[in-house]
Structure formats: C-alpha cells, structure tokens
C-alpha cells in the first residue's frame, strides 16, 4: 500500500542525490522496497565520504559510521541531508520520521527509542541516539514487529538474541518478526559460540568441532538456569516446539524435550544433551548417530548387505532410474539387487529423481511424466502395489520455487498416480521446506528429508517436517573389503518401512503388438498428458485432433511400428512419440505450403522449397540423409542412394513422406538411426550414441528425441523434455502389452 511519507522519502533521495549514487532514479511509488533501501544505503555511504558505493550495508559502511559517528543525535548529525536519510529510513520502516526536514527532532527521537525497543536493544543502546548497528537495521527490509502471523514466542527469542549479543563484533541485529529464518538460525549459532566463550573472529556461525565440544560440556537438566537455558529453550521455540522461552529448566520444559526427542528419534532423556542441542541448531543434528536407514548409489551385493545389516541398517533407499550410466553406473537398482536385499532381511524404499536439477525441470506436466516414468520403473523392478516412491527435489528450492514449480510438479505426480489407479504412494525427498509444503498441500504422505545439506535455504531455519520418514544426516563408509560401501546414513522414524518382498522383475523384453484392451486407456492418458502441456484434444487451430494423431501414429500402423522396433532394437515409444508429437504440430499453413510445393513441382519441375511434410514432419534433406546413411550402414535395403542436391530425388522422397503414413513412420526409425550414429553429414554435431538398445537410459532417450527435433540449441533442448514425458506415457502401455 502506498504511503505518502515513503513517497516523499523516495522524492528526497532522487532530488538530493540525482546522478550521485550510481543508480537509476527510485520509482516514487510510496511503497517501501529493497530499491529504496539500497538508494538510502548509497546516500548514507555518499554522506560518509565512501567512494565505492554499494547496495550492501557492509563492514566498510559500518566501520566508517563507528569511527565518525558512533552515536548520532541532534547534536552530532553532520548535515540536514544526513538526517533526512535517517528520517526516510524511519518512514520506510513504518515509524514516524518527524517529517523529512533534516532535523533530529523529538519525533525522530521518540521513534528511535521505539525502534530500539522493538529490536530488543533498548538496554544495550539506551536513549534515543542512533548507533551504527541500529542504522544498519534501519536500512534493510527486516521487520521488528510481528508480521504475517509471526509467533510472539519466536519474537521474544529474536529480541533477546539482539539485546544479549548486539555488542559482539560479528553479530548483526536480526529481524524480530516472529518468523524463524536462515539469519535467525545463524545468529543462534553465533550466540552459542559467544556463550561458550569464543572471541570475536573465532566465532563464525558454523557448527564446527569447537562449538560441538562446547555444547557437550553444557548438558542441561531440570534445575539448570541462565543463558544456556535461554539458548536451549530458544532453540526449542524456533523449532516450533510448544514451550515458553525461559531461563530456568523446569520439569515442563523437560517433558517437552522428551516429546521432541521422541519425535526426532533421539534418545529420550528429557535433558538438554548434545544430540538434542545439535538437532535444535543444525538440520543434520548429531552426525555420530547411527540411523536404521541409508540410501546410496552403489549396488547392494550380498557382502555389502551383510555389512549394512551389521551396522544396524534395516531400510535401504535405492534409485529407480539413472539419467546417466557413465558418471554413477550403479545409481539405479541393478539386476538381482532387490532379491539380494530381501534375502538378507533388509527392506528397500524406492527413490525417483527427476530428469534435471533446477526449478525449470519442475512443472505440472513434468510431474505427470515423472510419475509415469517412476511407475514404469517400479513395475520393471518388481515393486509391489502399496510401495511409497520418494520423488526427489534435488536442488536448493527457494520458497517461490516451491510455490511456482515444485507444488505444481507434485500435483502432476499425484494426478498421474491417481490415474494409474493409486497403486503407489507418494513421498517427497528434499529439503525441509519442500517436504513440509508438499506434504501440507496433500501431495505426499511422507518425507525423506535431505538434512545433510544444512546450508540449503530450505533447511536452514525450518523445523523437521511432521511426516518425516527418513532424515538424511551424514555420508559414511561402512564395511570393509568386498562389503565396503559408501552410504548416506538416515535416521528412520518408522513412518515408512520400504518393501521386504518383491515381484519378479520384468525382463527387458522386445516390444510386441499393443494389447487391444490398453489402447483406449493409452489414448486417454496421452491426451491428458498433452492437455497438461497446453495442447487441447480438439487440436485448437492445428490441423489434427488428438484422436486422429493417436490413431495414425500409434494404432493404425502398430504392426509396422512393432516390426521397426524389433528390427532396430529401439523401443516402440521412440517412434510413436516422435511421430505423434510432429503430427500434433501440423498446421493449415503447413498444408498450404505443401500444396504450393507440389503445385510448383508439377508446373515447373522444381522443388522450390524444403519444408517439413507428412505425419512425421520430415524435410527432404533429412529424409535423404537418413535413408542414405541407413542404406550405406546396412540397416535397410531395397532403395537406391539419393542425391541431396537433385530436385527430383528430393521431391520424390519428400512426396513419399507426404503421401504415405507408413513411409513417414519408417522414416522416423531411419532418422533415429541416423541421429544415434551422430547424424554424419547432417546439421547436428552431437556425438554418436551407442546403437539402439532396449535399456537406453533417460539421457539417451532424451538425446534421441531431442535430435529428431533439431540441433543442440533451443527450442530443441527444452521441447525434448516434453517429448520425454510423452515417451514415458507411451512406454507405460507398450510395457504393459509386452509383459502380458
């Protein structure tokens, strides 16, 4: 909401410092924001004589203020504009700035007193003088009153931390808004280090050996009191435990501690011991704990299973798929591995990591595709219905990433799992904030928390999710010799226990004809996936509707597609996906262009323009290149080599693709073969892939689909991700058919 005094503050900084701050004019909107705060910070630096102006109120600004103006008041403010910066800051923070008249007047003094009270530093810095650290707090967007439903208890802890430690060199005033955050969590670590007795410069806000040793010396019990109890109860409050912020360790606090210890699967002592301190201060907690679960990227052999069992491991997390077979060749569950796990009395929980590691790889349609891929893989490996699959969010998702990308992605997963008949349950694997928000949205029933990544924004300052099943705390190597294995050790809550018995894995069979009773479901599923991408079933302004494309690219020529698949050892889904996708993209304009090309050739004998034609949208140069390559490589025969520079040759093959759906589909397989071999003589310099295989990895499938669309640039790169999703849907039904 616009505020007239904020607008006047913006006008002031624009007028008084026009062209002096190295930034554009601040928009005079009357709304406080970082732009205005940065401008005021630069204005202050200008007044202080700092030459290299910056948006950051850093050590140089703070030290210069400390040296020149350790206490600003009506007698020490050096100039009217200097004072106007203070007054503007107050208005931007929601305090009365006493007009912007350049005078450190009574209203400014009253506001300054109130601001320091709100910050909790009124005892450290009594009176109405403005001190450097308070000035720093004045020129940022931190709130010092409870906002957006903040907790009064958390605000009490925040104010106490400020008041208690603000005089330490490296402690900056933290917000007092009633919300836990990364800054608050870091300040807690500083506070613990200061209380241990670390000097300025030694205390660094890191949960290192010195801090851990100090905490081991400060186990708290009923009757303890003082700063340590305040820190401990503060930690409990910040972790959203139902306790008061107190300075005496009461039996009530002890009882709450027991409940927290039970929730976090710590030894239940009711005392403030090291393990409990650690869990309150950092996401990974006490890394000396031995969890009953683990996850890893290495095959579980009988020797390793024995070693894991000896370590007390019961539950093993393994990946359903592997995007690459080169960097981590055993990342996905290996052949016979689940049986080894079961034979040794261990249990396995499956993890699905989506293709990619950034917000751009998370969306509703990609969620649907991920779920489909996970279902396919889970069934291939032999996981039984009822298994919970943990879908990974393996990047430091900011809160807005969760809102805009991750939640829609998990809605897509949930919808696709429901469409599959709800055979599998959904878990989420990621930082605390991701797990909590996905679960609260109702998209997951258990969380696998990547707490080892303690620096992730989504872990620092967030409590352990209520529905946590596995808590990943440390990487370590267990066993020796043939049994040695590196694992991420996880604490298990018991909410998920994986699976201890499995169906026989589905063998990597060649594809067969589509089963009659899957076709209708397949058509519905493909249509739904395309709709999720934004392609309407009726085709919109494009030439063909979904049903027609499905009929031509999947059903009508199933015998041919099956034959091509068997002959070239490539999954039917590769051919179906490329052809269906291209046919959905045919537009009336394309058809007009084809008619023009045909008419021109009929009248002039010239192939006037190469344009993508037929249901596979294939160009003459692509068709000639692919067929020539396949003929010369011996992949096919019965045709002559064509001259790519000859109009008659180009037109003849182009017209064949235009006229015949069978030829277009066969050409899809030829083009895939050409692309897989590195497209020699073509327009794509990508290296050759291994020859088609029924066990192609996600990366290889993606590459084949991407190469069909175009060279390794946009839009082929991002569009191929959509094709990959379609591939998974097609593959689901091909897989059902070949395993019937």
């Amino acid at each position: 909401m616009a505020d007239e005094m904020v607008r006047r503050a913006q006008t002031f900084v624009n007028t008084a410092y026009a062209g002096k701050l190295g930034i554009d004019r601040v928009p005079e909107t009357g709304v406080t924001g970082w732009t205005t705060m940065f401008a005021l910070t630069r204005a202050l630096q200008y007044e202080l004589g700092i030459t290299a102006l910056s948006d950051t109120f850093g050590p140089t600004t703070l030290n210069t203020l400390q040296t020149k103006y350790p206490r600003l008041n009506s007698g020490t403010v050096p100039s009217e504009n200097f004072c106007r910066i203070i007054q503007s800051g107050l208005y931007c923070k929601g305090y009365d700035g006493g007009e912007i008249d350049g005078k450190y007047n009574e209203r400014v003094q009253a506001s300054m007193t109130r601001l320091k009270q709100d910050m909790g530093v009124d005892f450290a810095f009594p009176g109405s003088d403005l001190t450097p650290k308070v000035f720093k707090g004045l020129l940022n967007m931190d709130a010092y009153i409870t906002v957006n439903g903040g907790s009064d208890a958390i605000r009490a802890v925040q104010r106490w931390l400020n008041g208690e430690f603000v005089n330490r060199r490296d402690f900056n005033i933290i917000p007092c808004d009633g919300h836990h955050s990364r800054d608050v969590a870091k300040s807690m670590l500083y506070a613990v280090q200061f209380t241990i007795g670390m000097a300025d410069g030694v205390a660094n806000g890191v949960f290192g050996p010195g801090t851990q040793a100090g905490l081991r010396d400060h186990t708290l019990d009923v009757g303890s009191s003082g700063t340590w109890v305040q820190l401990f109860s503060g930690g409990m409050v910040l972790n959203q435990r139902p306790v008061s912020f107190v300075s005496t360790f009461t039996s009530g606090l002890s009882s709450a501690v027991s409940q927290f210890q039970s929730f976090a699967k710590l030894p239940v002592t009711g005392r403030g011991d090291f393990s409990t301190w650690a869990s309150l201060l950092v996401s990974y907690g006490d890394q000396a704990r031995k969890g009953e679960a683990c996850d890893g990227v290495t095959r579980i052999t009988p020797a390793r299973a024995t070693a894991l069992k000896a370590e007390g491991i019961k539950y093993i997390g393994r990946y359903l798929t592997n995007a690459s077979t080169t960097s981590l060749p055993e990342k996905a569950i290996q052949s016979g591995e689940l049986q080894t796990i079961a034979d040794n009395g261990l249990r396995c929980f499956p993890i699905y990591q989506t293709f990619g590691r950034g917000a751009e790889d998370f969306s509703y349609p990609l969620g649907r595709a991920a779920a489909q891929a996970a279902i396919n893989a889970a069934l291939d490996h032999g996981f039984k219905p009822g298994t919970r699959i943990f879908f990974a969010v393996d990047f430091d998702a900011l809160d807005q990433d969760v809102t805009n990308s991750v939640l829609p992605h998990f809605k897509g997963i949930q919808d696709a799992i429901a469409d599959d008949g709800g055979r599998f349950a959904i878990g989420v694997y990621g930082p605390r904030n991701v797990c909590t928000r996905v679960s609260e949205a109702g998209h997951a029933t258990a969380s696998f928390v990547s707490d080892m990544s303690s620096g992730f924004s989504g872990n620092f300052g967030y409590p352990l999710p209520e529905n946590w099943a596995y808590d990943q705390i440390v990487t370590r190597t267990v066993g020796s010799g043939a049994g040695a294995i590196e694992i991420d050790n996880n604490i298990a809550s018991g909410r998920d226990t994986g699976q201890g018995s499995f169906n026989a894995p589905r063998p990597s069979k060649p594809d067969g004809r589509l089963a009659d009773d899957v076709i209708e479901s397949m058509q519905i599923d493909v249509g739904k996936f395309m709709q999720s991408l934004g392609y309407p079933l009726d085709g919109g302004t494009r030439s063909y509707q979904h049903w027609k494309c499905f009929q031509s690219a999947v059903v009508d020529h199933d015998a041919l597609i099956t034959q091509l698949s068997n002959r070239y050892n490539m999954r039917k889904a590769l051919i179906q996906t490329s052809c269906y996708w291209e046919m959905r993209h045919i537009e009336p304009l394309d058809e007009a262009a084809w008619a023009t090309v045909i008419a021109a050739y009929a009248t002039t004998g010239e192939y006037i323009r190469d344009t993508s034609t037929g249901i596979g949208k294939q160009r003459a140069v692509t068709l000639v290149g692919a067929w020539n390559h396949c003929l010369m490589a011996g992949y096919t025969d019965g045709r002559r080599i064509l001259d790519v520079n000859n109009d008659d040759d180009k037109y003849s093959i182009w017209k064949e693709a235009y006229d015949s759906e069978e030829f277009a589909l066969t050409s899809v397989a030829m083009i895939h073969n050409w692309d897989i071999d590195g497209k020699p003589g073509g327009d794509d310099s990508s290296p050759a892939l291994r020859r088609p295989s029924l066990d192609y990895t996600d990366t290889e499938i993606y590459e084949v689909l991407r190469r069909y669309q175009g060279p390794r640039v946009e839009p082929a790169l991002s569009e191929a991700k959509k094709r990959l999703g379609l591939y998974y849907v097609m593959e689901k039904y091909n897989s059902i058919s070949r395993n019937m």
């Binding site: 934004g534 959905r584 304009l589 262009a593 344009t611 993508s612 060279p711 640039v713 839009p715």
Partner: protein
Amino acid sequence: MSGDAPYEGHNAVVVLLLILLGVVATPWLTVRGIRLLVRARTTGTRRAWLGAAAVLTWAALIGVYTWGVLHLFFFDDTEQSRACNKAVPTGQLTGYDPSFIPLRFGCRTSDGATVDASVIPSYVNPASAVLAVCAVTLTGFTRVQPKEEQK
C-alpha cells in the same frame, strides 16, 4: 498456456487468412485505383484525384504488408529455430516473440530483450507505416472534400 509456450510462432491460421486477403485485395484495389485514376482525368475534380490516390495507397499498403507476411509462408519450426539461433548468441535464446503489428519474428533472450530474427525484409515495416499514414490521410481528405467543394 499454449503447448508451444514459450516457443510459439505466429498464429498459422491468421497468417494464412492474411495472405489470402492480401492476395485478393491487392490486385482488386490496384485495378479499382487505376479505374478511378482514369475517371479522375475525365472529371478533373480534386475529390476524384484524391479518391484514386487513396485507393492506390491502400493497395500499396496491403501489398507491402502481404509481401512481408508471405515470408512466413514457408517459415516452419526448423526455420524458426535456425533464424533465432543465428540472431541470438548460443545459450541465450529463451523464446519467440512473434508480432503482426509491426510485422516481426522476434527472439527473446535470457536478459529479457527481444532480437529481430530478420525474417521480414527491413523495409516492410517503415514502408507500411508511411503508407498507412498516407492512406488514412488521403481517405480523410476524400471524405471532407465534398463539403469544401460545396462552399
């Protein structure tokens, strides 16, 4: 959301309709303008001259614009990708930005800018703008001319 977002080109149906309209309208207006020109030589009134000039200017405007639109006729997915990857440094293409007025095929970059893919000849938009101003002005003059002549 369109299925092709953010790589959506010009609406193919609109392109086709514009081409059909232009191909019909340009010669029709040209013939009509020439006839009016001949008639103006006979009548010799300023209104007749202005009317003929207005119609011929409209013909030129539609002809030039249609010529520009015709460049989109064979501009399929492959051509779009090729044009934008030529216009934008590698790795910076984030989408297409098609526009009918002005007639342009733009390529969006990662820094939020739009770069013209140089698909439409560079003279089409300036010429269309000048012709549009002339056509509207001449048509306006033609409309007010009878009142002036009555005075």
